[in-house]
Amino acid sequence: MNRLNSMFNQKKNNLLSVYFTAGYPDLNATVDVAEALEKAGVDFLEIGFPYSDPVADGPTIQNSSQQALDNGMTLNVLFEQLAELRKRVSIPVLLMGYANPMVQYGVERFCAKAAEVGVDGVIVPDLPMYEYETLYKECFAKHGLSNIFLVTPQTAEDRIRKIDGLSNSFIYLLSSASITGGSLTLSDVTETYFKRIKDMELTNPVVIGFGISNKAAFDKATAYANGAIVGSAFVKFQAEEGYLERIPEFVKSIRN
């Protein structure tokens, strides 16, 4: 059982995950940021491997990705950093990135290397279910990596059931059909949608992301799901002076 599944077995509520882009704002920031987030009480990490054309991301994460690439971030560099990270960080780690860099690296090689350096799961937003099932599922399973699927307000119920069947750690529920970096609208529509998913009583835990930028949004999301992921709000915070020392403060502003 990987770290993600152990975590979900032990803790069912109020889970907080933070996304950050590897190699941003400095090439070697990755491990320090991860360590600071763990110390501040974050339950699991989502680390982005940057891509030049991230179509599911808004300007904040796109800019951090470009900066990371300019800083010299590559998958080889990231895997070296992650090996180092595992000496200092014990919470679950997810890698998030787009299909092309993974395909160029070689999917088998990518999975083997990710598992070797202590990665627990992977989020590849543009990897379709059909291709995952036919080409990649076996490889992910062999290396004990969880593949995380996204569900949006427009995802049909039968497809959500299928995703639930294919998932083996948690389902990433998008707060709205949008790119990253928006803000959660606490409307009736959103609440009805969260409730609809909760009432489906899925096999896998559900974590809500996209638009989780403050405590109100976190509280709303975790009222309906096992946890929530903060992404763009943290990446924006990283642009501030002395952000590394102030990470506990940031985490407290989301979850007391």
């Binding site: 054309d53 179509v55 808004g58 470009q66 160029q104 379709p128 059909y130 427009q154 059909a177 790119i179």
Partner: protein
């Protein structure tokens, strides 16, 4: 039918729909409905009627006598430049706007490189009274200023893409982001044979009118509907796919696709994807694209905004891999020279995109009896400032 798409949306190893879940319902709706819609009699009647009375089809197949004399073969130009809006892009735009109406969409988005597809989309939106937003790379907006003005005059909103290389690939990214944020009421009119399935197939079918007409016209001109050679330029590859489509199964017809070499294939300033690219994933499909060892998309270069794209459509990737078509390339200078030559031999100023196809004639050896069709995909008005700057008129 080894050249067409399979049920999963693949052409051999290429194609598919590599899209985030946010786009799945939109793309799935299209996949499920487009076949029924475009084969419906009322759709076909409206499409054909608009192509005839609004676009001005069939476009002529013109026997270019002086060009033929120069190259020692019978050279025919498929005059897509004479279409309303000045290029082949209108064929697909008409098809997709009729499709969008039948899907009940209220808003249209599009990406554009040279501005030809943006103008075509803005035109059909004006025709149908539908809101239109066109994404265009900031750099392309500068070098294709007349087309930006045309789109605005037609009532479209033109949004600059300011990320990355600020050209066609970035405009495509921005359009995809818009579609993610507006999943229900918006249809995305992709202008080339790229993107997730069913786009490459759908756009190719709307553009296939080019080769359908060319076959009939060739029969009238030459007594045979099959030429020895068919030439077309390739950025994403929509005019080429339209020009090749009905010749694919006629194995004796040599299909030649001309990419933009920019300042030279090995200059670091090129868009010759089939030479410089590797297999990977771009804009929703598995194809050949220019990329680094680490899988980051490389910023391409061509003097022609319409060919300045780091990938080719998945069907082109397939035709390239199985060698059904030959992929060659032409530099900026060669293309500009060919544009000048066509202007002065035939009185036709071609778009710089199309001029790449004409430049290839210089490099070929013909028999006197060879019949050659070149797709003249667009007219050169939009490129006058580039021609003027280069030749110092």
């Amino acid at each position: 039918m080894k050249y067409t798409v399979n049920e999963q949306g693949y052409y051999g190893d290429f194609g598919g729909a590599y899209i985030p879940e946010m786009l799945y319902p939109n793309v799935e709706e299209l996949r499920q409905q487009y076949q029924n819609i475009i084969t419906d009699e009322s759709f076909k009647a409206e499409f054909e009627s608009l192509l005839k009375d609004y676009v001005g089809r069939p476009s002529p197949l013109y026997h270019a006598r002086r060009l033929s004399e120069k190259y020692g073969a019978n050279i025919f130009l498929k005059r897509e430049d004479l279409n309303h809006t000045g290029s082949h892009k209108i064929n697909n735009a008409i098809g997709q706007i009729l499709l969008a109406q039948r899907l009940g969409k209220k808003r249209i988005i599009a990406e554009t490189g040279a501005g030809q597809h943006g103008v075509a989309t803005a035109t059909v939106c004006a025709l149908m009274g539908i809101e239109c937003v066109v994404y265009m790379g900031e750099i392309d907006m500068e070098r294709q200023a007349p087309n930006v003005a045309r789109m605005k005059m037609l009532g479209a909103k033109v949004v600059p893409a300011t990320s990355g290389s600020k050209t066609l690939k970035d405009a495509t990214n921005e359009a995809m982001r818009d579609w993610i944020n507006n999943p229900v009421d918006t249809h995305y009119i992709i202008g080339s044979v790229v993107g997730p399935y069913p786009y490459p197939e759908m756009v190719a079918r709307f553009q296939s009118i080019i080769s359908l007409e060319a076959k009939k016209q060739l029969l009238e001109h030459t007594g045979s509907e099959l030429p020895q050679y068919v030439l077309a330029c390739v950025g994403g590859g929509s005019n080429a796919m339209g020009m090749f489509y009905h010749f694919l199964e006629d194995e004796q017809v040599k299909l030649i696709a001309i990419e933009a070499a920019g300042k030279g294939v090995n200059s670091g300033h090129s868009a010759a994807t089939s030479v410089l690219g590797k297999e990977g994933i771009l804009h929703g499909s598995r194809t050949i694209l220019m990329q680094t060892e680490d899988g980051q998309v490389v910023e391409p270069y061509s003097i022609s905004a319409g060919l300045d794209y780091p990938g080719i459509g998945p069907q082109h990737a397939h035709l390239h891999k199985i060698k059904r078509a030959e992929y060659v390339n032409i530099t900026d200078d060669e293309a500009l020279q060919a544009g000048l030559l066509l202007s002065q031999l035939e009185g036709i100023i071609p778009a710089i995109e199309s001029a790449h196809a004409f430049a290839q004639l210089e490099k070929m050896k013909f028999e006197k009896t060879d019949n050659v069709v070149v797709c003249l995909s667009g007219r050169g008005d939009k490129d006058l400032s580039t021609y003027i700057k280069h030749f110092g008129f």
